[in-house]
Symmetry: C2
Subunit: 351 residues, 2 copies
DNA sequence: TTGTATGCGTTATCAT
DNA sequence: ATGATAACGCATACAA
């Protein structure tokens, strides 16, 4: 009976919901402008008045409506992070790194995975556009996909590519996959391996290109060619690893070593080997990427290509904020690469 | 050449950015109200006019500013999901499940991890409050923490507890951890085990309480007490598992079986055992939770308590949306529990 | 059926 | 130093 009166010309605000600057201003006996000045640290407010406003804010428990702030500043202080697979713990680590940068600076990081479906990536980019995201971190499925590229450019949102590149048209942050893979291949060759298989995914990405190039270069330095039939480059899924390793090991002339490049591939590959009664490094030598708990606890532990995903996330966040803050429209394209390291363990044997 | 004229209206808007309803309305030769009606499917717009507006929207590439929509509707169509550790793949799976519900209904799901720090949880809740989130899914660190509970209630945001409970004051969605753990304990007892250790984390949560209660009940049914020194209940981290298993196995009277309850604990426990040259199930029988790729690929594979995390996420999303949509302020407290299953493998031996 | 005007909550530009 | 007021971009009650 009391809250239907509500002739709210000058408010009989029985409904306790939704408080605004006005409520605070009224409570403190000042104007809305003053309240705004106080919360935004605008100089030139009397100390006593400021204090009154502060207590009013606390007593009422008011907090400014960010949507309203956005509409004025035309900045959402929101960043979108698009990648392919949320279950890949590497992205979790990158997210964590990025959040360490964004959080303290008042940005909200929103992560979303596309499951490798490019239509979904287009949708996500459009979504971030409607939500007026201030920036995007992109780890998209296929760099050359035209629909996605169009969506990016029509969004007009600042962005950086993470573990991806865009013909040098955009800033990119990545691990040195070429160097890491090359080191792994050279190690295998040194141990006497000549038939080296590679299972990985990410067609149409910088990462896969660099890995493939490194494999070719590494083999070439030993006057060898890559056997195309030893290349399985179509997915990062555990199931894919499971089946492909079975097919590879079932050949009359199976590989003696294998690069298993993809966090979720490793469990699949190991299961596949077990299902055939094959062992490593007895039947096949194994090098994986990245260095995960799984790689460490397997028997024997797996030699791994390691890089700092946390740092990757931080760097992506830093350079994105840098790009956003440039007032001069100058788009400065940069290229960051962090080093990799080969962690030697017991999954490679000399033959 | 035609769109740089840009004498738009009366502003000297050299900056071409930021188009609004006005631009679209002008371009289509209608009023802003009509444009709004078209995009919101408000009936009573002439078919021809609607078409004109549509093409204008597409030609200009305009999309409504969600912040502006929010400020009017006082709904952000944004949901916050707070949990402790983003690297735990279970949360990734739950997130995926929840997104399947939220996405099609126009809600943006924002995930954020607190690393088990309750101050951070308070900050996150406040953040979602300032951002006017429409709902929260909470998997907080300690249900009884007063600061967090205060933050929740002052936020005024609808919420559900996921794998947590709040004295029956809030809707909760959870796996049947009591049943799952009880089944595991009974299985171990049947296999002759009397000294059963438990390593897990999550003090102050429903999950831990249920697991402990199940262990006690299971032992009691065999007229046995739980040895408090076999309980290691302080963390879900791999490092914790590594060290605690070493301490447990180093005892003069070590356990013969162990419940390793936490996705990230398992790799740590296994490493710890390996570091001491202990094997499973030879030196100790092992049951883990949840059923992960790691559990499946270890040698031997691990008997696991399995439940459907994806479904858990979906159910949380569904019941949250249900709660949000109830116009009558009636807060209906519900309790959902999904079943668990004991997946028998080779990590438990009869003694 | 369509246009006009007002309000949502905040900040910035004027006045005072 | 502070108050009044006009935007910001959109949705809707009301007018036409």
């Amino acid at each position: 009976m009391e809250n239907d009166k509500n002739n709210d010309g000058d408010k009989i605000n029985i409904r306790k919901k939704r408080l605004t600057v006005h409520d605070v201003a009224q409570h403190a006996g000042v104007s809305t402008g003053t309240v705004s000045r106080v919360i935004n640290d605008v100089p030139g407010v009397g100390a006593d008045v400021a204090r009154r406003v502060q207590t009013a804010i606390e007593e009422l428990g008011w907090q400014p409506n960010i949507a309203a702030q956005n509409i004025r500043s035309s900045a959402s202080r929101m960043i979108g992070f698009i990648f392919s697979d949320i279950r890949n713990p590497l992205y979790a680590t990158m997210t964590k790194g990025a959040e360490e940068v964004f959080g303290p600076r008042g940005y909200l990081l929103v992560s979303s995975s596309s499951d490798g479906r490019m239509e979904r990536e287009v949708d996500l980019i459009d979504l971030y556009r409607r939500r007026r995201a201030d920036g995007l971190i992109l780890s998209i499925t296929d760099e050359s996909n035209q629909e996605v590229r169009t969506a990016i450019s029509r969004s007009g949102i600042s962005f950086v590519m993470l573990e991806r590149s865009l013909d040098g048209e955009a800033t990119s942050i990545s691990a040195d996959h070429y160097g890491g893979t090359l080191q792994a291949v050279e190690h295998l060759m040194e141990m006497g391996h000549r038939r080296i298989a590679m299972i990985t995914g990410g067609r149409g990405t910088l990462v896969m290109r660099e890995r493939l190039r490194a494999l070719e270069d590494g083999m070439a330095s030993g006057k060898l060619d890559v056997d195309p039939d030893l290349l399985r480059l179509d997915s990062f899924d555990a199931e894919y690893g499971y089946h492909q390793v079975q097919m590879l090991m079932g050949k009359k002339n199976p590989p003696t070593a294998m690069l298993c490049l993809g966090v979720r591939l490793l469990p699949g590959v190991v299961s596949g080997l077990q299902s055939m009664g094959k062992t490593f490094p007895g039947d096949i030598s194994l090098i994986c990427s990245n260095d995960t708990e799984t790689a460490r606890i397997l028997t024997p532990p797996i030699t791994a290509i390691r890089y700092d995903a946390h740092m990757l996330g931080k760097m992506a966040a830093d350079s994105l904020l840098d790009q956003i803050s440039r007032t001069d429209g100058k788009l400065e394209v940069k290229k960051f690469e962090i080093p990799t390291e080969l962690v030697l363990r017991d999954s490679v044997r000399r033959i």
